[in-house]
Structures are given as structure tokens and as C-alpha cells.
Amino acid sequence: MAVTLSLTVNGKAVNATVDPRTLLVELLRNQLGLTGTHVGCDTGQCGACTVHVDGRAVKSCNLLAAQANGAVVVTIEGLAAADGTMHPMQAAFKECHGLQCGFCTTGMVMSAIDLVNRHPKASEATIREELEGNLCRCTGYHNIVKAVAQGAAAMAK
């Protein structure tokens, strides 16, 4: 049994055929080669697999690829401009050293952009609360919070 899907991934139309049980993250990583989206816990806890579906952050290890049929999906690979200029949030993570091993970073960036879209002037407390769905195994939260605040200011410009 195969399901045929049409969706938009990082601005490009994608047609794919998947088994019904294929997770969205499996489609992204294994079929589309977009390995920037990570699988940490595979149980919806850690947030490393966070992507945007129709503009909202979701955990792609918790959704079937079939559920994204017709949707607009953005992954970490879709953030930078065509000339390679980083998204302001990516630049802020780089400048603030908002990463250590880097495993959680792509999910952190995707969640951070969603939270800034909803709270453009988020306080430090709001940033910490809103990142509750993303775990950093290096416990490098302090610089991550600084990066999100700087990224928010840059996104407002």
C-alpha cells in the first residue's frame, strides 16, 4: 500500500509516494535528503525534529508524512536566502554561540522563529517558557536564550 502526496517543501513542489506509516521526518530525511531535521527521542519529547507545517512549529517525528499532504513545510534548509545569507535567527545563534554539539540546534531555531512570530517582543522569561518543547543535551540554554532574543530583535528590523 502506497500513498501519493503533493506538498511544498522549502518553496518547491514535491510529489512523493510513501508507505502510510512513514513519518514526516522520514520523508524529509530519507526521501528528500533534508538531513538538517534531526531525530532525537522519536517520542515527541526533545523537539530536535521541529519543522514548520503551514507556518506553525510541529514535531515531525510525531506526524505522518500523509498528514502533510497539501501542506507548506519549511525545514532548517529553507531558511537561508538563495545567495546563502543566513536567516536572522540562524545568524544570531552563530553570533551568540547558541549551540554546543549542535544536535538540538535546528529544532531550536525552528521553534525560536515560531515563537518570535507569535511574541515579537518576547521577554527572557517568555523565551524560556516557549522553548519548553526543545531539549538541549549539552544544557547550553543560556546562550540559546540570548540568541533567540538577539534573533527576535534582528527579525523586527
Binding site: 515527541g44 512549529a57 510541529v58 510525531n62 516557549e130 519548553e132 518543547g133
Partner: protein
């Protein structure tokens, strides 16, 4: 077993037809189904029925003086909806405690209700709000609806009054009485992404240091999320001085039926029920 069929029907009638055929797993947000099936705790049926396109399962609208909430409404939609926030604040409060933002964007109210976890975050506030489940089926070629009070909907962990050929279309909430106040409390080890050790919902109309028309519900302290009728009776007309609050909280501690599990012992759950009920009633009495 492999999933052999996948359907995403666009009408309620087609969805019910698939359900009537049997051996079907219903998929809504998938946030519980996916990890459960990957962990081997749930076996997906031969047919997977994605109900996302069924229009009758969508929207939040005023109905019968209260509100009709489509089963596909996500936690994020609920906690931002003006109607829910104004009249059913205890539900919005519980949604805010639900998992994390990424899961709130995908998880649906209908999924939380049909999973029927004793610890389901929205179930306690729904019980306090006298919710009804709106179920649809198509037994003889015609779509039929019935309503079941949520207090009679849960029959055990993961078990409900929904028949295999029925689909939960919506949750209906009657308008609470004038002056109604509701409060939700969830005890977990961390504020996010935790399954509650216990949860409490208390609602009623405060006045004269009493809580009129009191409704009290508990989660994760019995095989099903439960209304605490004896505790409610003890509250009716009682002036909430310190001794009365203590007495009512002790009745609640006796009324719940918790078990020992990985999240908490039965003893600890009873102590939480007593202490937090006492604190919440004290707050309500001074509201």
C-alpha cells in the same frame, strides 16, 4: 501488521462508511498515536482513516447557548479562541499546560478525549464544564448523531462509550451559570511535556464565602477521569472557613481511587489531592 489501506475522506458520510467497514484506526493529530504505535503499545489496524478533511469536525462556534468545539480543534486553537477564553477559561488554562507548543499545534481535543487516558489534560476541565460528546455513525445508510455526557463517556483506561463504527464529531459545552469561576491544577515533575501525577478542576459560583453549584473533577487518580460527587455535595452551601475546607479536602482524599505507578504512589496522590484541594478551595473562597 502493515497498514493496507489509507483513506482521507472529505465528507462525514464517507468517513463513517469506512468506519462501518471495521478494522480501522482513526488518525487526527497523531501526536499520541504515532509514538504509541512506534513503541508497540498500539497496533495500527488494516485501514488508517485520516479524518482531517471532514468539515463537521472543525470549528468553534456558539451553539445552544454554549459552544460546539469540533473534534479536530487543536490545543493551540482552543487556548487562543476568544469564546473559549471568555466563558470556558478553565479549558484554555488546561490547554496551556498541555505538552509543549509543537504538540499543542497538532494535538486535537477529540484525540485527547478518545484516547481516554485517566491523565488526559483536557478531560478534567471538560468534566467540570459538563461537556457532552457528539458522536456520529451510519448504521443503515443514513448519518445519525447521539450525545453522551462526558461523565458517562469514559469506561476505563483507553476505553470509552464510543462504538467502533462511531466518530467523535464535537464536544459540546453548555454556557456556565453567571459568575462561574473555574480553576485547573496539574502536578507534574516539570512544567512541560509531563504526564500529570494528578490534576484537579474546581468550578462554581463563588459568593458569601461559599462555592455554589460546585463541580469538582480529578485526573490520574482513578481508572477514568472522574467527577467527585461526594466532594461536590459537601461543598454545597458550606461556608468555606478553614475547618470546612479541611473537611471537604479530606472527603476528596477518600473519594479518589489512585494506584501506585511510575509517576507517583497512591499515598502521594491522595496527599496531593488533599493539599491541593484545600489550597484551591481556600483561593476560591477568597476570590
Amino acid at each position: 501488521m502493515a497498514v493496507e489501506e489509507y483513506w482521507a475522506p472529505a465528507t462525514l458520510s464517507d468517513a463513517l462508511e469506512r468506519l462501518r467497514g471495521g478494522d480501522v484506526t482513526i488518525l487526527a493529530g497523531g501526536t499520541d498515536l504515532m509514538p504509541q504505535s512506534h513503541a508497540g503499545r498500539v497496533t495500527l489496524a488494516r485501514g488508517l482513516l485520516n479524518v482531517r478533511r471532514v468539515p463537521e469536525l472543525r470549528g468553534i462556534e456558539a451553539a445552544d447557548g454554549g459552544v460546539r468545539i469540533g473534534a479536530l480543534c487543536t490545543m493551540s486553537e482552543l487556548m487562543r479562541d476568544p469564546l473559549v477564553r471568555e466563558h470556558f477559561g478553565i479549558l484554555a488554562e488546561a490547554c496551556d499546560h498541555f505538552a509543549s507548543d509543537q504538540l499543542r499545534n497538532a494535538a486535537t481535543l477529540g484525540g485527547n478525549v478518545c484516547n481516554a487516558s485517566p491523565a488526559g489534560d483536557t478531560l478534567v476541565p471538560l468534566l467540570v464544564l459538563d461537556a457532552e460528546a457528539e458522536l456520529a455513525s451510519k448504521p443503515d445508510g443514513r448519518v445519525q448523531f447521539r450525545r453522551v455526557p462526558l461523565s458517562a463517556f469514559f469506561s476505563g483506561p483507553g476505553r470509552t462509550a464510543r462504538a467502533p463504527d462511531e466518530l467523535l464529531c464535537a464536544i459540546r459545552l453548555p454556557r456556565p451559570p453567571a459568575g462561574f469561576v473555574g480553576r485547573f491544577y496539574k502536578a507534574g515533575l516539570r512544567p512541560a511535556l509531563d504526564i500529570s501525577a494528578i490534576s484537579i478542576g474546581i468550578g462554581g459560583v463563588p459568593g458569601g464565602r461559599a462555592l455554589g453549584q460546585a463541580r469538582v473533577a480529578y485526573g490520574a487518580v482513578a481508572p477514568v477521569p472522574m467527577r467527585a460527587r461526594r466532594t461536590e455535595q459537601a461543598l454545597e452551601g458550606a461556608v468555606l472557613d478553614a475547618a470546612t475546607v479541611e473537611r471537604v479536602a479530606a472527603i476528596a482524599r477518600d473519594e479518589v481511587r489512585p494506584i501506585d505507578d511510575v509517576r507517583a504512589s497512591a499515598w502521594y496522590r491522595r496527599e496531593l489531592v488533599f493539599n491541593m484541594t484545600r489550597r484551591m478551595l481556600g483561593d476560591v473562597a477568597h476570590a
